[in-house]
């Protein structure tokens, strides 16, 4: 056993010291360099997550990827040109685009000139490079016990720091587009989004690849603070290159009487994990956390949502559906923790998987940890194949078998997608899902 553990830990450690190799290219010195060094030490102590870490049991990075690839080079003019067409394709209707290419903010591809009043956008690099911003740098680069978040803090090359002023009602969605343009490299981005008291906004984060980009590894993290009485729709769509690895984390705190509508969809990539850690910190806040994994071939997609009910009278609803074809594997872990003082909590967690082939696999793990005694909480999980009686009914009505399957799959994933507030972003997600269905 000790030997196995040691082997797994060894595999997790960078084969070349990533941090040392990238040191000269990482922004920030003094306190920032210190934060990074401590974060990298934390990562090295833990190594790449493996199956003996409960939270990573089904997504054993030691076995799946083995090592973290070297840092991507700074994008040159040619990379920016290649990224541009991917950005155009990824753009949501009416959205204000903020583009990161290989982990570096690209203002020339972004709509920085059309930001509405009340929004302030700065690049993380700009903040880290100014010693006067060390407090802010510490906030943005904060870590948890998760090794991937620690590695992200150590290696973040750039990202966005977005603040939305108190009371602002932002009309157009803000879209953060991550574009990878390289081969066999890693990119690390760290962003920060803060909504002031009573502010309202919608943010979509999209991961895409430019032509020729493959086998890259993305490690992204975002810290989101939803102020008291504010509301945020936060949509995440991972549509990476077929052989890419995407590890994304969200650390989200929701204030008093605030609301968050969170949606995550993974519809491409080789290995993907989105882990969202949401704390309902104030009284009477609401969370609607939903998602869809659309998996085929040998893809592996993991969505892990941890909801911490830290305040009383909060409501969380979590609905996650997976469609798995071929030899794909979908993982959903949903954990709801209700702290002792969080009385009158309402929490519901439901996960469903649709398996389209005999080799497809879905691992669903809903968990409730209830430490208060006056709560209404429930969870459920189902897995199954398409109903043959439904398929026959539809075929008897003139639909081909493939069209009948598509109609039923569309209905299946439509349920969590409909939790996205009606409008451009719901249409954007629907269009992405349709793209996946058409490619079947």
């Amino acid at each position: 056993m000790k030997q196995v553990l040691a082997r797994e830990a060894d595999a997790g450690r960078a084969k070349s010291n990533l941090f040392t190799a990238a040191h000269g290219r990482l922004p920030g010195c003094g306190p920032v360099a210190h934060i990074r060094a401590r974060a990298f030490e934390a990562y090295e102590r833990a190594g790449l997550p493996h199956r003996r870490i409960e939270a990573w049991k089904y997504t054993d990075l030691c076995a799946l990827i083995g090592e973290v690839l070297p840092l991507a080079p700074r994008p040159d003019a040619a990379a920016l040109v290649r990224a541009k067409s991917s950005v155009m394709q990824a753009a949501a209707d009416q959205a204000v685009k903020l583009v990161l290419v290989d982990g570096i903010f690209a203002p020339e591809l972004s709509d920085v000139g059309s930001l509405e009043n009340g929004i302030d956008v700065r690049s993380l690099r700009e903040i880290l490079e100014n010693p006067a911003n060390s407090a802010m740098a510490g906030l943005v680069l904060s870590t948890t016990t998760d090794a991937m978040i620690s590695l992200n803090a150590a290696m973040a090359t750039d990202g966005l720091v977005i603040t939305i002023a108190e009371g602002s009602a932002i009309k157009r969605p803000i879209q953060i587009v991550h574009v990878a343009t390289s081969l066999s490299v890693s990119d690390f981005t760290r962003s920060y989004l803060q909504l002031g008291k009573g502010a309202h906004a919608a943010v979509v984060e999209t991961f895409v690849a430019a032509d020729g980009a493959s086998r890259y590894q993305t490690n992204d993290a975002i810290i989101v603070l939803v102020g008291d009485e504010a509301s945020l729709s936060y949509i995440r769509v991972a549509a990476d290159a077929a052989d890419a690895v995407n590890l994304s984390s969200g650390i989200i705190v929701v204030g008093t009487r605030a609301s968050l509508n969170l949606f995550s969809m993974t519809c491409s990539g080789s290995i993907g994990r989105y882990q969202g850690f949401v704390t309902l910190a104030g009284e009477g806040s609401r969370l609607s956390a939903n998602g869809v994994n659309l998996i085929r071939e040998k893809q592996h997609a993991d969505t892990t949502i941890v909801v911490d009910h830290a305040g009383p009278h909060c409501i969380s609803r979590n609905k996650f559906h997976a469609v798995v074809d071929d030899c794909g594997r979908s993982v959903f872990q949903g954990q709801v923790v209700v702290r002792p003082a969080s009385q009158k909590t309402e929490a519901a967690l439901m996960t469903r998987a649709l398996l389209l082939s005999d080799q497809a696999e879905a691992d669903n793990k809903p968990e409730l940890e209830i430490l208060a005694d006056d709560v209404t909480c429930g969870h459920g999980s189902t897995s199954g194949a398409l109903d043959t009686s439904l398929i026959f009914y539809l075929r008897a009505r003139g639909l081909s078998e493939k069209d009948a399957q598509a109609l039923l799959i569309r209905a299946f994933i439509g349920e969590p997608i409909e939790e996205i507030p009606a409008g451009n972003l719901r249409e954007f997600v629907t269009a992405r899902a349709e793209h996946w269905l058409r490619a079947r």
Partner: protein, 250 residues
């Protein structure tokens, strides 16, 4: 040329023979009633005509407009004009009735080489037919059959029958699960769809339905084949004598 011709059909499932030499000829404009006790093979016949997978046909043939129906997929049969009104219509959560109807109608029109309906034209047509069948417009916006009563589901089947303009409609125990009022409404709707171009096969246990839908021919099935044929008076005879007289027939 007959619209539908079933010749000496032998078929079953899991090596169990259910139909044992079934014959039937249906011409355009005719209404045929198929009656028989449980397990006689009535629903199996409807499934095989509409192409449900899982059955094995060991002998015989089914011709539809002189084409070999058994060589066609279920969706091709629908496109050719065969409609099966299910005894237990399915529920499809997440698909609105209107969306389902439009998708199915256009799939069939495409198969027939007809122009697909635009959304406004389709909506107009579907609403008109729904109104004629006393189907509330609100039902069309709901999930397909989700939360519908038995009567609503059967009316939804009849709505499709009218919308798709199929030439052969097989009604598999359309009377099951209906109260007297719903039965009258559904039967009146079916009668309204009788035409010289359209044939119907009405599968039922009971004469009651045939009081509303007067058949041209009645066929009594038992143990996988037709034991007796006649006019609508045969249904009255069955009501008096029951199916027992056919149960012992080899």
């Amino acid at each position: 040329m007959a619209l539908l011709e079933v010749r000496d059909l032998h078929a079953g499932m899991d090596e169990r023979e259910i139909l044992r030499g079934f014959d039937l000829t249906v011409n355009a404009g005719e209404v045929h009633a198929i009656m028989g006790p449980n397990g006689s093979g009535k629903t199996t016949l409807s499934h095989i005509i509409s192409g449900k997978p899982g059955y094995q046909v060991s002998a015989g043939q089914i011709l539809f407009n002189d084409e070999d129906l058994l060589a066609m997929e279920p969706e091709e049969r629908a496109g050719k004009g065969i409609f099966l009104a299910f005894q237990y219509p399915v529920e499809i959560p997440g698909v609105t009735t209107m969306n389902f109807l439009r998708t199915a109608l256009n799939a069939q029109r495409k198969a027939r080489g007809q122009k697909e309906f635009s959304t406004p034209d389709f909506l107009k047509r579907a609403r008109e037919i729904a109104k004629s069948l006393n189907i509330p417009q609100g039902m069309l916006k709901r999930g397909f059959n989700v939360g519908f009563s038995g009567g609503e589901k059967k009316r939804n089947e009849i709505l499709q029958m009218a919308l798709f303009e199929s030439s052969l409609c097989i009604l598999d125990e359309i009377d099951s699960g209906l109260d007297i009022d719903a039965l009258r409404i559904v039967s009146n709707s079916i009668n309204a769809l009788r035409s010289p171009e359209r044939a119907m096969i009405v599968i039922t246990h009971y004469r009651r339905l045939l009081d509303y839908i007067a058949p041209d021919f009645v066929h009594v099935m038992s143990k996988g084949r037709v034991r007796k044929r006649g006019g609508r008076e045969l249904a009255l005879e069955l009501e008096a004598c029951g199916y027992a007289q056919f149960e012992g027939a080899a």
